[in-house]
């Protein structure tokens, strides 16, 4: 079976084609070795980082941005979304704080990427003045 994909390893964006003739997967269209590596990984089991939001109980932050701290198998994106959609954050968090450990057993954590108090940063000046 033939598959087509565009290489994103560098700005050239080669059009790659993979072919599964016997058991061996072959790549064509690449101009360098990075292209071949990219195609093999993409076709066998592509990984993606997932960025989305979770609900919170905070009125001025109804949604908190989150991301996976690393990549998860692309096939798991929607299973992960179903789980993430059920989360409600009840405690204040800062960017980098853990939201969910070991998402779906992938070994990758889900972390907050924003503060639950969105005007927190405005207070930075007061914080640095020791208030």
């Amino acid at each position: 079976m033939k598959r087509r994909l565009t290489c994103i390893e560098c700005p050239i964006g080669c059009s790659l084609e993979t072919q599964n003739i016997t058991q061996e997967l072959t790549v064509s269209g690449n101009q360098c070795a990075r292209g071949e590596r990219y195609a093999l990984k993409e076709v066998r089991n592509p990984f993606r980082s997932l960025t989305t939001t979770v609900a919170t109980v905070f009125a001025n932050c109804p949604r908190l941005p989150v991301r996976t701290k690393g990549e998860i198998p692309r096939k798991d994106l929607f299973v992960a979304m179903e789980l993430i959609n059920s989360i409600i954050i009840e405690h204040p968090l800062l960017p980098g704080d853990l939201v969910l450990k070991d998402l779906l057993g992938t070994g990758v954590d889900l972390i907050a990427t924003g503060p639950t108090d969105p005007v927190y940063a405005f207070n930075g000046y007061e914080r640095s003045h020791g208030r």
């Binding site: 598959r3 195609a39 939001t53 959609n85 059920s86």
Partner: protein, 590 residues
């Protein structure tokens, strides 16, 4: 007056042999079939001006979906069994002005509007010019009410707290020969009561309007040309009417009348709407583009309304300084499709247009590619500093035209408690105060026959306008912000509209909890970003003020909601296909 026979001959000669021409109620009735909308119009105009009360054009156009008005999806019984002394149908500037006029008497007045807000049709879709009474034929109702209305405007706007300016109208000559028309122009002005006509040489025109196009050949200036916000004026009439005791019912469409036979003719006893039926002593038809259909419901249809579309382009405020006057061009023959030119607005934009195009569907408000092509080619050139990339948006509206191209302002000859106010196209906005005054007089005459009519001792013609922050000095703004901090928080950046002004509009007597309702009152989203930044904030403010869920917040009433639901919780991903393998499968070529 032409005999029916003579008209028949005219029709035969024009190839309308299959069109039936009849007379009923002293009006011409046309029926039959034609192949094109153009032919429909041709037939209508052929029958016009022959000395009859009007032209009813019931000719069908083959292949064209018959036009019918949208009825609000909402229905309830809130009007069931009620009684009003007067019911005004149609919440445009005419209906709103009449309603306010009727509150000078001690009577119960209802204004019925089928849309979600006032001024949703022609009154909210025009260029806001207060015309000098120059274009209308001398002796016509158009000329009469134009002149009267023009002279009433200063006081009317002052009472209603609506901004008004008189930049004047500059009419330029595209050809040198037109200078010879000046005596005729002066005579027309004299006949119509237009004051202050001033002849201008090409040099004088250029001195007044430095960006005028190069090839102009002079022209004339009419100082009685004004500008007003047509929708703000309509709202102001509505609000003042409410303060004086009238009731405004939005999303309320008249779907029929119950009539009885009297010795004087027919009489409307019940008004049936999607919100129940009520009784009324008097019904006033200010239904604009649908006025003929309302007249039909009352059993006195003697005119047909057809829509003449006008598209208008709005320019970024940053180019407003490039134009001083309303500018039009003298076109000969003037014809019925005048179209517009270049106009400054009271809110500080420049408008190009409107265009003038006959279309078959009355509620078709879609713009088309041809609109802008026309505007850029035939209107924008008047001011050589204007460019198409300064356009921020455009819209269109439909003029309510009769085939006689004349206002219909009269009590019904066949229904004793029904007044026609129809065919109010340009200069309808200018004429509005005068028409309202006249209809008020007609209404009083009818009502006096069945009741004792007492003046409303509490009538106050003045409306206190809400603060407009961007129009105030910095000191005044500061003072208001101290009183109400919400005036300090800018929600709409482009038009610098504060949260306080938005909540004011929602809490006003005629507040409408929709994005367009807020927009028409305080200009949110009318700037160069067209609501890109303020729309999400407005959704929250409208929901909060109206006490509704965000899913209920709409752009312009039910059916135009913005948000389907909130994110998160249970989401159905069953239709999503995610491939376990990367890349795209090769398309098969066999």
């Amino acid at each position: 007056m032409h005999s029916l026979k003579k008209i028949r001959k005219l029709f035969d000669r024009a190839g309308f042999k299959e069109i039936e021409v009849a007379e009923k109620h002293k009006a011409i009735f046309l029926s039959g079939n034609v192949d094109h909308w153009d032919r429909y119009l041709e037939a209508g105009y052929l029958a016009a001006g022959k000395g009859y009360r009007g032209v009813v054009n019931d000719i069908q156009v083959r292949g064209l979906i018959p036009d019918s008005f949208t009825v609000p999806s909402h229905s309830d019984k809130s009007l069931e069994g009620r009684h009003f002394h007067a019911a005004v149908v149609g919440g445009g500037v005419i209906g709103a002005a009449i309603t306010r006029e009727l509150t000078r008497w001690q009577i119960d007045v209802a204004l019925l509007e089928k849309e979600n807000d006032l001024s949703r049709h022609a009154s909210g879709r025009n260029n806001g010019i207060i015309h000098p009474a120059f274009a209308a034929p001398p002796g016509s109702l158009k000329a009469r009410y134009n002149t009267l209305g023009n002279r009433m405007f200063t006081q009317e706007a002052q009472e209603l707290g609506v901004p008004l300016a008189w930049p004047g109208l500059l009419v330029v000559f595209p050809s040198r020969m037109m200078h010879m028309l000046m005596p005729l122009i002066r005579r027309r002005a004299r006949q119509n009561g237009v004051r202050g006509v001033e002849y201008l040489t090409p040099e004088q025109v250029r001195a007044r309007e430095p960006n005028i196009y190069n090839k102009q050949q002079g022209g004339f200036f009419l100082p009685e040309g004004g500008i007003v916000s047509p929708y703000k004026l309509t709202m102001a009439y509505g609000e003042n009417a409410i303060s004086n005791g009238a009731q405004v019912f939005l999303q309320t469409a008249v779907i029929g009348f119950d009539l009885i036979k009297n010795q004087g003719g027919n009489r409307i006893v019940r008004v049936n709407t999607n919100r129940g039926s009520f009784t009324a002593d008097l019904v006033i038809n200010a239904a604009g583009i649908w006025a003929d259909q309302l007249a039909e419901m009352a059993g006195d249809r003697f005119y047909t309304i057809h829509p003449r579309r006008g598209a208008i382009a709005i320019l970024d405020k940053k180019v407003t300084h490039l134009l001083k006057y309303n500018i039009g061009q003298l076109l000969i023959p003037a014809g019925k499709s005048k179209g517009g030119g270049v106009t400054p607005t009271i809110d500080g934009n420049i408008l190009l247009g409107p265009t003038a195009e006959e279309i078959p569907h009355r509620e078709d408000f879609a713009t088309r590619t041809e609109d802008l092509a026309y505007i850029y080619q035939h209107q924008m050139f008047l001011n050589k500093a204007l460019r198409s990339d300064q356009v921020i948006t455009y819209f269109s509206g439909n003029r309510a035209c009769t085939f006689d191209e004349e206002f219909v302002i009269e009590p019904s000859s066949y229904v004793e408690n029904f007044i026609h106010v129809a065919g109010i196209q340009s200069p309808g906005l200018t004429a509005a105060p005068a028409i309202a005054r006249e209809v008020g007089r007609l209404a009083a005459e009818i009502l006096k026959k069945t009741m004792a009519l007492l003046p409303n001792a509490h009538f106050n013609p003045c409306r206190k306008p809400l603060p407009v922050m961007s129009a105030l000095s910095f000191e005044e703004r500061s003072r208001l912000i101290k009183e109400n901090p919400a005036y300090g928080k800018i929600v709409c950046r482009c038009e610098t509209v504060s949260e306080g002004e938005i909540t004011d509009s929602l809490r006003s007597p005629l507040g409408v909890a929709s994005l367009d309702g807020v927009k028409q009152r305080v200009r949110t989203g009318m700037g160069r970003c067209q609501g890109g930044f303020c729309t999400p904030r407005l959704v929250d403010i409208v929901a909060r003020e109206a006490g509704i869920n965000i899913e209920k917040v709409s752009k312009s009433g039910p059916g135009s909601e913005l948000v389907f639901k909130k994110t998160k919780g249970l989401v159905d991903y069953s239709s999503v296909k995610i491939l376990s393998e990367g890349g795209k499968e090769e398309e098969s070529h066999d």
